[in-house]
Structures are given as structure tokens and as C-alpha cells.
Amino acid sequence: MRSVSVGQIIDTVERLCIDANYYLNRDIMCALNSGLEKEKSDTGKIIMGQIIENAEIASTNKMAICQDTGMAVVFIDMGQDVHVEGGSIVQAVNEGVRRGYKNGYLRKSVVEDPIHRINTGDNTPAVIHFEMVEGDSIKITVAPKGFGSENMSALKMLKPSDGLEGVKSFILKTVDNAGPNPCPPMVIGVGIGGTMEKAAILAKKALLRPIDMPSGIQYVKELEEEMLEAINMLGIGPGGLGGRNTALGVKIETFPTHIAGLPVAVNISCHATRHAEAVV
């Protein structure tokens, strides 16, 4: 049994909140640059140029890429041979978020009740997803999620008879309906299978996969390619002003499901698809 102190968890989460919000990952930067080369619209090229310049300004000046520094979504892969010492891991994660958002000059965007809507003032609580894994370490991933794109996401319980065509049509319709709202070019995370909540979490997790890494399942890989091509024919384009770059990537995760069901979740992310991870 290995011990990890809550202090280590707090420090790590604080750093990851700041890093994720300041530094756009290299895979997304590469996708933006190659998207710019392929863009047909002059206005679209200008917008892509602004987005790339914006990411450079943010990283040079240590400031948030986007003012919507998101609700902090934290994935914890918890090694089953780890003992957390000195307090609650949930409280430690929230303390890390509190410190990261304060010390990183990040916006506090969380309200304590969905109806009464008073800002908590420190961006807590985080949404934390725990998973027990083998081993004696803890992998922490912080994925701040902005709501311009989160609001355009959708989930549908399809019928098994809807099949692959039903899945394709739901993905395409969701993206087309999102239009300019989620700050295109978007990244599309899709979860197919499981139960209602499993599909949603799969869609969120799909957004963590490097954008240049296809699915390991052949038909899913082909579906990712086909959907990206179809989405980029919708015409929405950078900033929604028209063009070829509506999405930078489509990432799909699947899971076994029930004989009666075909859940599909589409989690839309903006061009600032942010995440940072560390192992403690």
C-alpha cells in the first residue's frame, strides 16, 4: 500500500487547473494550423489566424485562453493500492480547484444551485469522476469545460433498429443545430452504448483522446473519419461565419449496452479543448 498525501493532490490539481487554461495542447495547435491551410473562406482564414494568435498570446502572457475557464471536470484514476493520507480526496480536489482558479486569475463560473444561482466565488465544486484501476498511483486529469459548447451537447436513447445510420444522423443534426454557438471549429466527443449516464461520460472522455489518435476499433475509426468529413461539409466554418473548418476532430468511444437500447451522447467542445494530466 502506497501513501499519497492530500497536500500532493491539492498542489497537483491547482497546477493542472492553471496549465489546462493557459496552454493549448500541441495536438490541438497542430490541428488548428493544418485547418488554416485547408480553409477555403477568406473570413474563415482570418478567424483561424485569430484563434492561433490568441493561444500564443495566452501561453506567452500566462493568461486564460478563453474567459470561460469552465467548470472543472476532474477524472481520477485511483490505483487500488493507494492510501490517501491526511483527509478527504474530494475535499483535496476542491481545494486544488479553489487555489488554481484564484492564483491563476481564472474566472469563477459556478453557481451553488441551478435554480437560485448564487456564484460560489471560488469555482467549486468540481465535477469529479472516480474510476478504480490497478496499481499504486493516482492519475489526475483536469478538463475545464466551457458552457458555450456544453450547452449545445445532446443525448438521445436511440432504438437498436435505428442502427449506425441513426447514430450518424443524430451526430450530424446535433452539430448542425449547434451552428456558431459553441465557438467552431469544434471538437466532437461521442459516446455510444452503456446506459444513459455511461454514454455521457464516454462522450466527455472521448474529448481527452489526442485529436490525431483514431479509435482502435476499425469501424469506429471509419465512423470518426466519415463524420468529420460530413460535419465539415455543413458550411458552419470558423466562428460560424462560413467555411470548411466546422470541426477539428470527431472522437468516439463505445461500450457494451442492453439488448433493448442504443444510447448516444454527443459532447461538443470548442476549439479550446483543454485538459492537463499528471500522475501522483
Partner: protein, 183 residues
């Protein structure tokens, strides 16, 4: 061609702007987003004075990041405008001539824009660090307890935007999408 816009902005000047025009905005603009709009709508209903006179003004839909010491403001890009659609027509009727945001607007907002002479500018979503460079002064003038949602008076210089919907109802989102749609 990039046009320079001075804010405050008159309805006469608004009528000269066309969907697709690139603009740089100089002058004074105000920020308000969800919670501030909700409060202002209640003030209108109760017959109270708003935190600022909206006549000939531009409202920027933004909730900025806090500024580091010595800086004017943190990252400050546009938020999704449609959440303000329920409140915008009343403000337009009171003389609001411009809105800056991102994303689609309702037909009720567009009708009010056509009737009273108001324009909808788009700023690039997710380019908050870039846009913050065009903001030279910031002052919270109402609802400080709302934090990022407080009403702010901003001084801007060369604020980059595009006319998305003009005061005749022409819509760049529709035109742009149609032009590049092949599905």
C-alpha cells in the same frame, strides 16, 4: 475593408452597416450577461433607472477573467448571445444600438433591431486573450456582487468585430453557411 466605429453609436450610423462588414470599435461600451440582464429586466418592469442609459450604447456580452496586478482585465471574449434574447428587445426599444456577442439570435431580437435601428456584432468566440488587448480601461459600475457578471464600463480601442446581423435583418451566419454548405 475595416470600418472604424465610435461608441456611443447612433441609429443613423447603424443603418450604414451591412452584414459581413469588419469593424474596429473605439470608445465606451458596457458589459452585461445573464444575471445582469435579468436584474435590468426587473428594473425596467419596476420603472427604476438602469445602471446606465442604454440610448445609443453598445452592450458587450462578456464575463471577463480577473486582471493580474498591473493589467486592465483578464481574458475577455464573447459569450453566447441567445441567452440574452429574452431581455434584448426591451433594451433595443429603449435605444440600445449595438450588441457584441457570438451565436444565433431569435426572430424577436432581429425584428426589434430592424424596427429601432440596432446592430449585432460578432467577436471571435474563444479569442478572449487576443480581445483583452483592445480593452484599455475597465470599471465595475453596478452589481459588483455578481463577480464576473457585474456590469462594467469598458474603454476600447480597435476592438475587432464583424457585423453579423445588420439593421435590415441580413444575417452573415446564414449567408456564410449557405455559401460553404455542400451537404
Amino acid at each position: 475593408m475595416v470600418y472604424t466605429i465610435e461608441a456611443p453609436l447612433t441609429a443613423e450610423r447603424v443603418r450604414l452597416l451591412k452584414a459581413g462588414d469588419s469593424v474596429e470599435i473605439n470608445g465606451t461600451i458596457y458589459t452585461a450577461r445573464d444575471a445582469a440582464h435579468r436584474r435590468m429586466a426587473a428594473m425596467i418592469q419596476e420603472g427604476k433607472a438602469l445602471p446606465f442609459d442604454v440610448k445609443d450604447q453598445i452592450i458587450y456580452y462578456v464575463g471577463p477573467c480577473p486582471a493580474r496586478e498591473g493589467e486592465v482585465i483578464g481574458s475577455a471574449g464573447p459569450t453566447t448571445s441567445s441567452r440574452m434574447d429574452a431581455y434584448a428587445p426591451a433594451l433595443i426599444e429603449m435605444g440600445l444600438t449595438g450588441m457584441i456577442g457570438k451565436g444565433l439570435r431569435s426572430s424577436a431580437v432581429i425584428e426589434a433591431m430592424i424596427k429601432h435601428g440596432s446592430v449585432y456584432f460578432g467577436a471571435t468566440g474563444g479569442a478572449g486573450a487576443l480581445i483583452s488587448r483592445a480593452i484599455t480601461a475597465e470599471e465595475v459600475i453596478a452589481f459588483p456582487e455578481l463577480g464576473p457578471e457585474a456590469v462594467r464600463k469598458l474603454t476600447v480601442k480597435g476592438f475587432p468585430a464583424t457585423v453579423i446581423i445588420d439593421s435590415y435583418g441580413n444575417n452573415l451566419y446564414e449567408q456564410g453557411k449557405e455559401r460553404y454548405r455542400v451537404i
